[in-house]
């Protein structure tokens, strides 16, 4: 038996490889990026596993579903908000069902370390009516991937593996097994199952509903859902919350505990627990999913249920051992020093010499003749331009949203309507809103910050940069004379400001590409 030092993300990747993976799909997003990267690096050169970043999560999901259709095992990975993008394909893949094993590894970000919200993907698993694993540690990340692929093929359903930031980005030793060979190509012949015309979809949806008792039975019997009845005070600890619980209790504790790591929620085990206790604390790193299910609308007679909804655990933010300690009503550990209250903050910032800085300096100056100009922006390193000293952007909502929102503001009469978006974000979600804007002749200025890479997540390959980007923009119908390309450098500042001013003065859809390679990407290529 081998032991390797692996991040939770990497353990997921290795588990998938050892489960006989044929293809990995995804779009970079913290904290999920390292799943794909690990598979890509570990299988590089072997030609065995298809590993190529997709343009967005929906495309990734559909590619993975196609691999499954062909009878092979596919892993699709993304961050929690990425699943919103993939949701159409995801929800319907539960209705079609799968052929080769299909596992969705999704990394949630409670506490929003690098995200716009802290949505809990377990809700999505429940919504789509599919099984979900929630590993507690790196070893389970590895083991549960293998189990998830087997379960997916047994039930002919996609299976979700849900991680949180702290597990995705934490390392530990992982014991590994002998790899299983890949499946042979065996495309499905069940055409009706995969053609969700209403008449077929009704049949398939019925099948999905009919599978639910079996899913529940699996969760009830799962070795991962451990119930230990002791005293009259109870705890339900989901996934990583179980670690924070164990951190705070001694072996001799008298609490009755249900540790959950496989869903759907095993109602039978929970019933046994609630019938045994009169006080129940529910610990979850994410939404109060289980807590609310146990409480229902009206609570339980004779059992006090506590958790995020009752204030024992904060309603928002990441769980940690200190919060669990307090919820268990244990005294805080003594410390050597009080927290320093007025310490100078050290927020992340654009790198010194970053091309985005030069672009936004020029944009700020070009916009200075307007009163309180606001710029719609998007998701990437350039979102850091919201902070001083640049303070150059004024929105960040969803991948690609800058262009659609700027168009909507323009429809309402807002001038100047300016969108700032990176080259990779543009390929992810910016092409379709640009096409819409061109068709409508909207007075909209789109700045594409083309640094040739996906910078924030570690310089992955961009799908639309350089010539390819120019062709896409012209292909969307932008007038060639209003596609302007600038090189954002301090020396070009005055010329760039003038180009921006000229386009701002024109009543139509312009695209200004600010093209200069990311410094981090250059550094990584050299080293």
């Amino acid at each position: 038996m081998q032991r390797e030092v692996l991040l939770g993300d990497e353990a997921v990747g290795l588990g998938a490889i050892h489960a006989g993976l044929s293809g990995v799909y995804g779009y970079p997003g913290t904290p999920s990026t390292e799943i794909f990267e690990f598979v890509e690096q570990r299988t590089a050169g072997s030609g065995d596993v298809h590993a190529f970043w997709s343009t967005n999560e929906k495309v990734a999901y559909e590619e993975a579903l196609g691999m499954s259709w062909a009878g092979k095992r596919a892993l699709v990975c993304m961050k929690h908000v990425g699943l919103n993008v993939a949701a159409d394909a995801f929800m319907n893949s539960a209705v079609t069902g799968t052929n080769g094993g299909l596992v969705l590894a999704v990394a949630d970000d409670p506490g929003m370390h690098s995200s716009q919200n802290e949505q809990d993907s377990r809700v999505y698993a429940q919504f789509a009516l599919i099984p979900c694993f929630e590993p507690r540690d790196q070893q389970e990340c590895y083991d549960m991937m293998i189990e998830a692929f087997d379960l997916s093929e047994e039930l002919a359903l996609p299976v979700m593996v849900r991680l949180v930031t702290r597990l995705a980005h934490s390392r530990s030793g992982v014991a590994t097994r002998e790899p299983r060979p890949q499946n042979a190509l065996h495309p499905t012949r069940e055409i009706r199952k995969w053609t969700l015309l209403p008449s077929n979809a009704r049949v398939q949806y019925r099948h999905l509903i009919d599978k639910q008792p079996e899913l529940l039975r699996r969760a009830e019997d799962s070795v991962h859902n451990r119930l230990n009845l002791a005293g009259r005070r109870g705890v339900i600890a989901c996934g990583i919350a179980n670690n924070y619980f164990l951190e705070n209790v001694d072996d001799g504790h008298d609490l009755s505990v249900l540790s959950l790591a496989q869903y759907p929620v095993p109602a039978g085990r929970i019933r046994r627990l609630v019938e045994h206790v009169d006080d129940l604390l529910v610990l979850e790193d994410g939404y109060p999913v289980v807590e609310n299910m146990v409480r229902g609308l009206f609570g339980l007679n004779g059992v006090r249920i506590r958790g995020r909804m009752t204030g024992e655990v904060p309603r928002t933010g990441e769980l940690n051992p200190d919060l669990v300690r307090s919820a268990l009503e244990l005294p805080p550990h003594p410390t050597a020093h009080q927290p320093s209250p007025s310490l100078a903050g050290r927020p992340p910032a654009l790198c010194k010499g970053c091309p985005h800085t030069d672009t936004f300096r020029a944009l700020n100056e070009a916009l200075s003749e307007f009163e309180n100009p606001q710029v719609f922006s998007d998701i990437g390193c350039y979102t850091l331009a919201a902070f001083p000293p640049l303070e150059a952007i004024h929105s960040c909502v969803a991948m690609g949203a800058s262009i659609g929102m700027a168009a909507g503001a323009a429809h309402a009469g807002y001038r100047p309507a300016v969108a700032a978006i990176g080259d990779s974000t543009f390929s992810h979600g910016g092409i379709t809103p640009l096409l819409s804007a061109v068709q409508q002749g909207v007075n909209l200025k789109v700045i594409v910050l083309d640094n040739g890479t996906v910078g924030m997540t570690g310089t992955q390959r961009s799908m639309s940069t350089g010539d390819a980007l120019d062709h896409i923009i012209l292909g969307a119908g932008v007038a060639p004379e209003h596609l302007r390309i600038i090189e954002p450098t301090p020396a070009n500042h005055a010329a760039n400001v003038q180009i921006l001013r000229d386009e701002l003065a024109w009543d139509g859809t312009s695209v200004i590409i600010a093209r200069r390679t990311c410094l981090e990407a250059i550094k990584r290529k050299v080293s």
């Binding site: 390392r171 940690n320 051992p321 050597a336 020093h337």
Partner: protein
């Protein structure tokens, strides 16, 4: 036995490289370990920390609870203060006194050193000076690991083995520089404690260490320096007034 460490620094300072060395030493020793780190947005020049835990029994939480850290290990002085509430009442700080100034309101360095001196259980090294002596300013992270080595539970040879493995892909010269940084950092940390345990104040010990050639530092001379300074206050001022550094073994005639 369980050891809990908070690694601290600024994105780009090589915190994860420190973690690599200690993680693998822990695995090598047959310990259980967990090490949580920060990726993504914060790595762009922001405050970065990593929680590293190892021990002979299972480690549950990936995060160190408040009040349970044995060590805050920081490549930078200000970042210590972001995390020292994690320290247990007998926890230690190992830190560089080389500030990383990328914010407009970075506090005065002397004030930071006074705060660290008041805390007391500190090992302070000038990672800039020592890394330069080792051959590359980027090796400051390995200087700090070296300074912390006596507080960890691994033979130096094990730690050095993983320093070598970490840099193996970058050529023998880089490997040598980093191993040297580790060794000089270790010696500097022990020498610093020798001074402090011998009665030299922490701010004075910091200032004195900056005036001794890092390549010559030998912990065995620590007590002699402490005794000499104790006997003759002018000696310290004399060394501090020097433009260049002095070799560590010239305790008696530092000028």
């Amino acid at each position: 036995m369980q050891t809990n460490i908070i690694l601290a620094g600024v994105g780009g300072q090589g915190i994860l490289s420190i973690a690599y060395v200690i993680d693998n030493a822990a695995l090598d020793a047959g310990f259980h370990f967990k090490q949580a780190e920060v990726h993504g947005m914060a790595q762009r020049g922001g405050a970065v920390q990593s929680h590293l835990r190892y021990g002979d029994g299972p480690i549950h939480s990936d995060l160190v609870p408040t009040g349970r850290a044995d060590l805050v290990l920081s490549v930078e002085p200000l970042e210590v203060m972001r995390y020292w509430h994690y320290l247990s009442p007998d926890g230690w700080v190992v830190a560089s006194v080389t500030p990383y100034v990328n914010i407009p309101d970075y506090p005065e360095l002397d004030g930071l050193i006074e705060d660290l001196a008041e805390f007391g259980r500190v090992v302070l090294v000038d990672s800039n000076l020592i890394a330069r002596a080792a051959g590359n300013l980027r090796a400051q992270n390995m200087v700090v690991v070296g300074a912390a080595a006596p507080l960890l539970h691994f033979p130096d040879s094990t730690l050095e083995k993983y320093v070598e493995m970490l840099f193996a892909g970058k050529g023998q010269k880089t490997v040598d520089v980093n191993v040297r940084a580790f060794r000089l950092g270790r010696a500097a940390g022990l020498f610093f404690r020798g001074l402090v345990d011998g009665g030299v104040s922490i701010p004075d010990a910091v200032r004195l260490c900056r005036k001794i050639d890092p390549a010559t530092v030998d912990p065995a001379h620590g007590p002699a320096w402490a005794a000499a300074i104790h006997g003759d206050r002018q000696l310290l001022e004399q060394v501090l007034a020097n433009e260049s550094t002095v070799p560590c073994d010239r305790v008696a005639a530092p000028a």
